[in-house]
Symmetry: C2
Subunit: 266 residues, 2 copies
């Protein structure tokens, strides 16, 4: 009997973000599961995906996966081929790394079918150079307030590097932080620390709904960016470090950045 | 008349790494192009992809895209819908950012269909935490020798951060750097600099053929890793910084790391 757990990435937007291989894995599985709480797929329809796969897909909650340690998933994988569908690239959410370690402890074979991730998408779409990104941070909701993101941006900037800021989400309430909220939180820290990271004349790049048919990308100084209408989540922010002139050109071309940026680039 | 250039990512391994959306875009295009020189898709067959798309796909060389500034691509996109297929996620190769800037200058509409990238795949597969990666480097062939990668690894390590090392490729000769070559180059710099970055007791993680059916992942001290048989390219390296204990567990479970790693983790 085949015992197997296959993690399949769903990419960024809707049911067509799955790869041909991912779809084939789901079609040939004995049981198909999905989680939709670690990130938001703007135009996703479970029903459409079930039609593509040709069988029902069981939705797993945070409770199923974290508090119950993925029992439903492992029960199915111990008795056949289980496919677990996950937004983005499966292991960018560290909670799923834990599941894979648990599978290894059970000597349960696992495989991975990768999907597109916001991590590479935003780098590409912004035109900023991949090798100039420093440490990534997540900006937490006020209930988990932390000055770490501000400090990481400052540390990266000092080294000339860009900072990718992922925005917090509250899985149970399905609440996704907006760029405006994130900037407000950083501006609050700015008032105290005064290092210029979230000052009015600091530059940032916002991206909403990456991978959808209507992504919104905008680069501007915080004075302006804080009032820009990005539409619906999910959203991501970048605080650029020292810009290369080709990066400035890309931000002007793709992200409607002020042409003044050219004079700030090297 | 529709003028449009759509960049579509092919993911990591073969023709089944394209997303359903990417395939639909190619099927509805007037002209379909591909480049296969910025990275290596281990099990890719152009013929199989042409069968899936249902039309011929024109292969563009480095010369076509860089020296001739993508003329073939733009001629097609000015006269209809052109789809350009690219390994991985389209804009991780900065050469394609240049094409997109050129399209913007021509007021030619562009769209992006993202694909899986080694950037997110190796983070997930290794089980290392995404937010602990510092700056990424590419390790160049000896003809482009540079001490920069060594210095970047050292700088990241000092901050406790991991370093993702992409390995060089020679597009015209279709030559792909192996992990053994990369380690040899770093060990050469080690002899001179003696900072311990590529010393025998330094830890590294190698990954070959990410996203294929037979990826090889191995974490070990350089003394051992330099002689490990990773099989065929493409390959990637990570030099970990300070390990969290869950990261050590993941490397032991997924990458056959020595259990001694647990005592080095925090």
């Amino acid at each position: 009997m085949l015992r197997e757990l296959v993690f399949v990435g769903l990419g960024l937007n809707d049911e067509n973000g799955i790869t041909l291989q991912g779809l084939q894995e789901a079609q040939s599985a004995d049981h198909v599961f999905i989680e939709l709480y670690t990130s938001l797929l703007p135009d996703f329809s479970l029903r459409n995906l079930e039609n593509l796969v040709g069988k029902p897909i069981q939705v797993l909650s945070r409770r199923n996966l974290e508090e119950e340690n993925g029992r439903l998933l492992f029960d199915a994988a111990e008795a056949g081929k289980a496919v677990f569908l996950v937004p983005g690239d499966p292991f960018i959410a560290t909670t799923h790394v834990t599941l894979r370690v648990e599978a290894a402890k059970r000597s349960l074979p696992t495989r991975v079918v990768h999907g597109a991730s916001i991590i590479s998408a935003i780098i590409g779409v912004s035109g900023l150079h991949n090798y100039k990104f420093g440490k990534t941070v997540t900006i937490p909701f006020p209930e988990n307030f932390s000055e770490t993101p501000y400090n990481v941006i400052a540390q990266n900037k000092q080294l000339g590097m860009h900072t990718l800021c992922l925005l917090d989400l509250n899985a149970t309430e399905r609440r996704f932080m907006t760029i405006r909220e994130a900037l407000g939180l950083l501006q609050g820290i700015e008032e105290k620390k005064q290092q210029g990271i979230a000052a009015d004349d600091a530059l940032a790049v916002g991206l909403a709904r990456a991978g959808s048919n209507q992504p919104t990308l905008k680069a501007d100084f915080l004075r302006e960016l804080a009032n820009f209408d990005f539409g619906q989540p999910p959203m991501t922010l970048i605080f650029p470090g020292q810009l290369h002139f080709t990066e400035a050109d890309a931000l002007i071309a793709f992200a409607g950045a002020p042409t003044k940026l050219r004079s700030l680039a090297k």
